[in-house]
Symmetry: C2
Subunit: 336 residues, 2 copies
């Protein structure tokens, strides 16, 4: 490779240096027939209904236990597409790079994106690269937009929860949030924590296809489980009752949270989903989720009710109840 040690402004110029960056870095790793055409737009032979979702990733640090900004940018977007019961097929990738970023850092991120997109089964078909002067952006921000084919006639949506439905989680809460927070603060715990960043699309598609009726799918990212459940309760105009002790939290996250005075229910997750299914499909849903690596610890955590519409109530282990409110402000910026 004929690149200098750091990314220069020239690489975002649209001129020869840009061309080299595109062909020797992006095409090398993202290689596919659609992207390789290098037209202003990618042409896709895709017939809907389609799900489309966009996300910008500004996570700090760029690399963390369990992932990096590149894999996170793929997982975050394919997961959002999958939440509508869609198969993520195509991705765009737009990078904003700070002048002076080590070239090896950029290449490591690109390689990680390539691997994560292959694993998710989605192609990166179009992109954009801007290089901005030192100080105009902190190191590297990535936007991905995903496009998927909806696989069911009645896709899961936030307003489709029904009274009596079972509320499931696909795994433990708080891993990503606590990992980023501890990296940023330079904290080390006895049991190391690791981000749960993962592509859920294969598992969720299996769920939608094998269980049939899946009313709601949503990933509890920024704001955590508490905030996301409140969003769904509001959209569906129903109440949710959650058993606090049923919510899976790893020992490492539990002890880290109690050390820092944090509630894992408000911490971000990047490889977990909330699934709301009719009570009679509960066993089938759990069996399906648990048959996938990403869903081994899937479990039921609560029930949808007609009481207290728009509110989430937590049943505490000592028999009490408390309102589980949305996160109000910012717990930790640049978590994703």
């Amino acid at each position: 490779m004929s690149f200098p040690d750091t990314v220069l402004l020239d690489y975002g110029s649209g001129g020869k240096a840009s061309q080299r960056l595109i062909s020797e870095l992006f095409l090398k790793h993202f290689d596919n027939a659609t992207l390789n055409r290098l037209d202003d737009a990618a042409m896709l032979d895709l017939s809907g209904p389609l799900a489309v979702s966009t996300d910008s990733f500004t996570v700090d640090p760029l690399f963390f236990p369990g992932g990096d900004i590149g894999s996170l940018a793929i997982h975050g977007t394919v997961n959002d597409v999958a939440m509508l019961g869609a198969r993520p097929m195509y991705l765009s990738c737009a990078m904003i790079v700070e002048e002076g970023l080590p070239f090896s850092t950029l290449e490591a991120v690109v390689r990680s994106m390539a691997e994560a997109s292959r694993h998710a089964g989605a192609q990166i078909v179009t992109g954009d690269t801007k290089v901005v002067p030192k100080g105009a952006v902190d190191k590297l921000f990535i936007n991905t937009t995903g496009l998927g084919l909806v696989q069911t006639a009645s896709p899961p949506q936030g307003d489709r929860a029904r009274p009596g439905d079972a509320i499931l989680l696909t795994g433990t809460m708080g891993d990503h949030g606590l990992t980023i927070l501890s990296q940023r603060q330079g904290l080390e715990f006895e049991t190391p924590v690791q981000s749960d960043s993962a592509a859920l699309n294969h598992m969720l598609l299996d769920l939608v296809e094998s269980v049939g009726e899946v009313h709601v799918l949503r990933d509890p990212t920024r704001g955590g489980l508490a905030t996301t459940l409140n969003e769904i309760a509001l959209q569906s105009n129903l109440g949710f009752v959650i058993e606090e002790k049923a919510v899976p939290v790893s020992d490492a996250v539990r002890s880290g949270c109690s050390f820092l005075g944090l509630d894992p229910l408000y911490l971000a997750n990047e490889g977990k989903a909330i699934c709301i299914v009719p009570e009679e499909r509960l066993d089938a849903a759990l069996a399906c989720l648990r048959s996938h690596d990403e869903g081994r610890q899937a479990c039921r955590v609560g029930t949808v009710t007609e009481d207290h519409p728009g509110k989430v109530v937590l049943q505490t282990p000592i028999g009490g109840k408390r309102l589980l409110d949305m996160l109000e402000g910012e717990q930790l910026p640049r978590i994703c």
Copy 2:
């Protein structure tokens, strides 16, 4: 509106403050049934073939004569989609906002995006907002990704130029580039310059439909006309001959460029297209382009040839020839 004077980190949290920002700013201005659902992804009933394109906008300053980062983010992406002979229909909008940005600035940009997208006939159906701490980004960056329906069985593409084809421009060169440069340097010219930022999709769709055979459409943005022509010549593996005096340049841009020692053929444009059509469709193409406001000054500037494949040759007014090379490095960062 119940917002403070500046954007706080809380507005990117995913919590209550984010919800207010979304409902009271974005939904208010971008209002449409798909976006209003607020699911993780937007569902679109769209059947291909599709054109999809992504672009991040980092322009500095945010507001400039002839436009702002918001309208530019719409125009840039709908134009890229239109270059494949597609009708841009849906857009995503992902904002990265610096903590402390005046709220009135954000609202002005959002209002401008709403107006530009209405004019272009494309809906903003999904989005994302990140607020990052002061210093992690310079004011405001926007990513838009566009989705369009390809309107022709033989869409224009960069490798479809043919020997003998006529090369057309839809208008003057260099307006956007010189405008941003003069704003950044605090220069004032006798005749003020203004960005040409505009949505070309209605005109180009008319061209594709009425002229039938349009071989290549591309907008000469970063790197300007010279760089973009070189890209197409390489993709088509043919030579281009351009008559220098036929290339339209406004008096204001010409005098500004000669004052600064710049070549308008390397300056960015944000509301112009290169159109390559068979010689026999030239008159029809010019008549169509000139019937639109954005194409009043459309003219032929050159011819595709089998000589010197992959190269662009400029015929100078005094009868000479010179190779018009790609821009090598960065002329002006953050032009778009």
